[in-house]
Subunit: 315 residues, 2 copies
């Protein structure tokens, strides 16, 4: 069984852990969002790729869901002593090492896909992890305030806690990008494609914005897992992102946003089961089940439901 | 009193600590060797500048003489886990932060002299620390073995422990370089110039190789402190460097290598007092005194002797 998953960060990584448990023999390819990537302290940081890599490789901070376990913060304190910023983005020492290694490999002229594969040789995540593109794409947020400023997604998310409303959110550079080597093949060759409960705007959205990826995904059976339960994001501030693109924060509205031309199946939590009767979701098979990823068993059950629905819809 | 000192790493830094104690009211400018500088893990490392900065700023590892006190090595272990090298050069976490800060400031387009001043705002070394040049100069070692290879000084020094004989040692890039802003003025305006017991070949040599510096220094009263005592370097492997350029490892031979056109006074250890009668040192005033820098008091006494001799020779 070949499964391709479009992935953001924490939600995707946890879902993937369940997917590996549900389908231990599947060949899983993860197409990771790189729109969150940012250059900090002169180093290239890829938060979503790293969260997947650390989580599946056993190095994640379980409490945070991102960053390394047993982390220390010597460099943070030293850099602050030098007055070298930005101070709003904290990187731990172990995490810093990943970014130093990545930046050194990139500086040697290797593309991000190769560099990611090289880093994964250490972590052995048990999936093939591909960046959506080797080209630089950065999600930018156009602020809906008196400044009208355009800032990097990370600055909006981490520094401003998404508290300043966004007018629009744009994956800058995506239109000129091409999918990384292996991405199109991984989608074309997959038995089906899954969307984990990642942020539809800033995680799944940038991946689909790379020319060719949406078209390839649309040709496959696709099942998505809602990251919105009971009208609120399970984690993070997806509501602020959805508002920015004019989409209501509900499981049904997110499915309608993706559309029946893209997704075939949609898993919602039991409290959102009314979505199954929503006329806006015509052509999308909706199934309701417990959707909180409380532990590995509950997460594997969600992944199994996604697999089952995909198989059913593939017939 | 205005004193300008040409400085290498550990020996210079310790001498400078003594000089500050001996002349607390003097304006001391340190022209630091950058020939040892190297790019490691994509970061610009300036070992001699940092050794002076850390030593005078109270951050040095007293045991090693270089690197930071209370150092940890999380990054070293992480980078090794990624297989990202070089493995032969170990940087501690606190030290890494300095190189990250420096590299970020350099990447903003600021010259090394400005960046060094910025880092010194934290350390407040009590001297003005200038790199010899903002241009990139790297000391290269031509190996005298069957490979005939040319390697960076650090690789010869740290990886090979200077055990492979050197055919010649060249400050690559020096001929095309210019002194950093302030260097020529600091020499011209000084009451006198001091050479601490730094390596004459790979510490003082590269500084003098920057066009204009030797000429400026030659016009001043210069007193040097021998780093060779009793035919052996007090610290480090200066003998291997001296052999490479055809100079005997002795206090007298090093003075003759600098020459009477460059230095006016030369401090040697009591066991090397015969140098005072060496005809090769005609025109150089040699004084013998205890020259081991055992502690701050003994180091300050050496610095005071250098000051006294410089004043005497300036009359």
């Amino acid at each position: 069984m070949r499964i391709t998953v479009l992935a953001g960060g924490v939600g995707a990584a946890r879902f993937l852990r369940g997917l590996k448990a549900a389908a231990p023999d599947a060949q899983i390819t993860v197409v990771g969002n790189t729109g969150d990537d940012i250059t900090l302290f002169g180093l290239r940081v890829c938060p979503d790729l790293d969260t997947v890599m650390y989580t599946l490789g056993g190095g994640i901070s379980e409490e945070q869901g991102w960053g390394r376990a047993e982390e220390t913060f010597v460099l943070r304190d030293e850099l602050a002593a030098y007055g070298v910023g930005p101070g709003w983005f904290t990187l731990g020492d172990r995490d810093f090492a990943t970014h130093i290694a990545r930046s050194q490999l990139l500086a040697e002229g290797r593309p991000l896909s190769e560099v990611t594969a090289s880093l994964c040789e250490r972590w052995r995540p048990g999936v093939r992890l591909l960046p959506m593109s080797d080209d630089r794409i950065e999600t930018h947020v156009h602020l809906d305030d008196e400044t009208g400023g355009v800032i990097h997604f990370q600055e909006w998310w981490v520094r401003l806690h998404a508290a300043v409303p966004a007018k629009t959110i744009v994956p800058s550079g995506a239109a000129e990008a091409t999918p990384a080597p292996g991405v199109a093949e991984a989608i074309n060759d997959a038995d089906f494609v899954l969307f984990p409960p990642s942020n539809p705007v800033v995680s799944i959205g940038p991946i689909l914005a790379v020319p060719g990826i949406r078209e390839a995904v649309s040709a496959k059976t696709v099942v998505g897992v809602s990251g919105i339960i009971g009208g609120a994001p399970v984690r993070g501030m997806a509501d602020a992102c959805l508002t920015a693109i004019g989409v209501e924060t509900s499981a049904a509205a997110v499915a309608a946003h993706f559309g029946a031309d893209l997704i075939n199946g949609w898993l919602v939590d039991e409290q959102d089961k009314a979505a199954a009767d929503d006329p806006a979701l015509a052509g999308i098979e909706v199934r309701a089940l417990p959707l909180y990823m409380r532990d590995l068993a509950s997460t594997a059950a969600i992944a199994q439901a996604a697999i089952d629905l995909a198989k059913e819809l593939s017939r």
